[in-house]
């Protein structure tokens, strides 16, 4: 196995609020190989974005704080770097694309200004050369008349075009890792696929690894090599995209897949949902965090927090005490469209 590009080890990021400490990310570990595309899926509040912000060093103390953990990027612990060294990595070696392109660009500077600024910052080029690179970058993301668009302000672009600009900005310095935090969520459905295709094509051309944060399983299925499923601040299951989609081991993953709208489902007229709501990450229940919503929960689940261990296919890991024993196929849907065990279905 090759040396991982990014290796996150036991990362914990907590936020202090008036109600208590929010354990947004609570002890997650994963590796990312060079050029790998990894999907991070989970519900809102599962800690996906905070993971990304922690890697970028964008967690602002005193509100949020990385309490423990290591984030090794090419063998270097990002958490031990000074602000100056981190600035070189941000935008230069790790770039990030945000969810809402409508507000992610500074409204008072032209798109060209903002692109050139990034390029001059990370590459040893003059302003004129940077402008050439910027034009090329806009060309690459298929923005027509790139040369003229350089002088336009962000408000003169549509949402999809702005996200293209963000992608151009992110990739203009040829980063080794691109973190995309729900890059298409705020966009029109028709442009979503185009933008995804474009982003991943460009990342491929440059050999850039991608950490794609999304709650859209369809996007993950189409674009990612590996997937990690997050729930209430922890990773509950990780593996290749095929593992996750065809051989899910965790009841939560199964529930997520079941709640997806599918074109090939014939008789299904309503979407399933997972019973209950995610726990508040302020007062986490002891033991497994999914227990209150899980059909297989037993005593041990209430006492001990399950750690990731191998289960299912080779290389697939899952955080569940009963991963090997339970048969997810025995799950069924009851009259109120909730997922329960087959023998519990009341009709």
């Amino acid at each position: 196995m090759t040396e991982p590009l990014l290796s996150v080890d036991n990362l914990r990021t907590y936020f202090s609020t008036e109600e208590g400490i929010v354990r947004a990310v609570d002890g997650i570990s994963f590796d990312l190989a060079p050029g790998e595309r990894r999907g991070v899926v989970g519900e809102s509040g599962s800690g996906k974005s905070v993971t990304a912000m922690s890697i970028m060093g964008l967690i602002e103390p005193p509100a949020g704080e990385i309490v423990t953990g290591e984030i090794l990027f090419r063998g270097q612990n990002l958490l031990s770097l000074g602000e100056d060294e981190m600035q070189d990595i941000r935008g230069g070696q790790i770039a990030m694309i945000f969810q809402d392109p409508m507000t992610a660009l500074n409204p008072v500077y032209t798109v060209g200004d903002q692109l050139v600024e990034t390029i001059v910052l990370h590459q040893d080029v003059s302003k004129t050369e940077a402008r050439e690179i910027a034009i090329q970058a806009l060309d690459d993301v298929q923005i027509p008349n790139a040369k003229e668009k350089l002088f336009d302000y962000p408000h003169q672009f549509s949402g999809g075009m702005r996200q293209r600009v963000m992608i151009a900005m992110g990739l203009s310095c040829n980063p080794e890792l691109l973190i995309a935090d729900e890059p298409t969520t705020a966009l029109d459905v028709t442009t979503q696929a185009q933008i995804m295709d474009l982003m991943l094509q460009l990342a491929d051309d440059r050999g850039t690894a991608v950490l794609l944060i999304t709650h859209d399983l369809g996007v993950v299925a189409g674009f990612c090599d590996t997937v990690q499923v997050m729930y209430a601040g922890g990773i509950v299951e990780a593996g290749t995209a095929d593992d996750i989609f065809y051989n899910p081991q965790h009841p939560y993953t199964w529930g997520l897949l079941g709640s997806m709208a599918r074109l090939d489902a014939v008789q299904q007229d309503r979407l399933h949902s997972i019973a209950g709501t995610p726990p508040s990450v302020i007062d986490l229940p002891p033991g497994c965090r999914f227990r209150p919503r899980c059909a297989f929960a037993t005593d041990i689940c209430g006492r001990i927090l399950p750690q990731l261990r191998e289960a299912g296919n080779e290389g697939q890991t899952v955080a569940c005490h009963h991963a090997d024993e339970m048969d997810l196929k025995t799950l069924a849907v009851d009259s109120s469209d909730r997922i329960v065990k087959q023998d519990e279905v009341v009709s």
Binding site: N106, V108, Y109
Partner: protein, 383 residues
């Protein structure tokens, strides 16, 4: 944009017309009248009769108003020599529109716009126009001359105070926002509310007692004067002597006004900066790897200053009217103290002249504020 400004000017004229009617009506309705004090003296009856006829006080109110309006807007002297400044103004306005239309960068456009504004002000200042704004009922001097003899003092005080308030208030607000909830921020907040809630006469008199009276008593050196604008014998002083004398008189009233308005600027700048600091595009700037300094100065400040422009423009409009209380406390010979005397003595022509100057100032500065908004923020478009 030309259409926009024209429309705004027309609205402004309507506003001013309404303002003049309301104020004129209120003055008439307030009872008494300028000659009331004379009535106590039985030997003045002939004079009252004479003045009433001379000033047209016996005519119906609407007729008095129309006479006033006609005089107010008709230039008395208008020589041919004014042709040059007028042509200059027109050229400046036209040139500005051409530049605004063909400029790509908003900053360059803004700088040139500012240069044109200065050119217009200089041209207007050199114009030789005089209006017949009537005679003051007290003393009988020309209202026009009276107002312009006081305007310089008011401008000197007002703009010094504004300069001080901006110089301290804006950086203070920015610093507070950047170091939110730090000790300094809390201190600034408490200080600002303290300044805000202290009436200006307390600040003014306090400064007079401490910095003018006690400071001299303790040190034996005269640092600040209690009141007035210049000492007698000012004209005989050397240039530096005049400068020193001017500052010794000017600083106390200017600081009094500045202290209160800088509290407002600091609060406003802090709020506007905080909003920008929490915006998505600042997170983008940070994610690009920009140094903190660049993020604050280039990306945050430029956005956070936009709302301040409106505040400053409106403040300038009020400066034109003079600082009534401060001028009275410090015996400053400005428009504010003239205004308050005029109201006390029901001096219609003088009150109307000053009210209209304030009104014109507010209308023009509002338009200027809107144009500046468009210069600062590329999203703003004029329809």
């Amino acid at each position: 944009m030309l259409a926009y400004i024209t429309r705004r000017l027309v609205y402004g004229l309507v506003t001013l017309l309404a303002l003049s009617m309301v104020v004129f009506g209120l003055l008439q309705a307030s009872g008494g009248g300028p000659l009331n004090r004379l009535r106590l003296n039985p030997r003045m009856q002939d004079l009252i009769q004479e003045l009433t006829e001379l000033w047209g006080l016996d005519k119906p109110v609407y007729q008095q108003y129309l006479t006033w309006l006609k005089n107010y807007v008709t230039p008395e002297e208008f020589g041919l020599q004014n042709a040059i400044p007028i042509v200059m103004v027109l050229a400046a306005v036209g040139g500005t529109f051409l530049i605004a239309r063909y400029m790509k960068s908003h900053w360059k456009g803004g700088v040139i716009l500012l240069m044109w504004v200065v050119a217009i002000i200089v041209s207007v200042a050199n114009m030789n126009i005089e209006f017949n704004w009537g005679v003051s009922f007290q003393g009988g001097g020309s209202v026009w001359d009276l107002v312009f003899s006081r305007a310089g003092a008011t401008f000197r005080l007002g703009f010094t105070a504004l300069f001080l308030a901006l110089l301290i208030g804006i950086p203070l607000g920015i610093y507070q926002a950047v170091r939110q909830y730090s000790f300094f921020d809390q201190l600034g907040t408490v200080g600002a509310f303290l300044m805000f809630s202290t009436p200006i006469f307390v600040v003014g008199i306090g400064l007079q007692i401490v910095l003018a009276l006690y400071l001299e008593k303790w040190t034996g050196v005269k640092v600040f004067y209690v009141a007035g604008m210049n000492e007698p014998g000012y004209g005989d002083l050397s240039f530096w002597g005049q400068m020193k004398d001017t500052l010794q008189h000017l600083m106390l009233p200017a600081i009094s006004i500045a202290l209160i308005s800088l509290a407002g600027y600091a609060r406003f700048q802090r709020a506007s900066m905080l909003e920008v600091l929490h915006s998505d595009y600042l997170r983008t700037a940070k994610a690009k790897g920009l140094p903190r300094r660049t993020i604050i100065v280039k990306h945050a400040l430029r956005n956070a200053l936009i709302p301040i422009v409106t505040l400053v423009s409106i403040d300038i409009a009020f400066i034109i009217g003079g600082a009534i209380i401060t001028e009275s406390i410090f015996g400053w010979p400005g428009l504010g103290s003239l205004y308050i005397t005029a109201i006390d003595t029901v001096d219609y022509p003088l009150v109307m002249a000053i009210v209209m100057i304030i009104g014109i100032g507010i209308v023009i500065m509002n338009i200027v504020a809107d144009i500046m908004y468009g210069v600062m923020d590329p999203r703003v478009r004029y329809e």
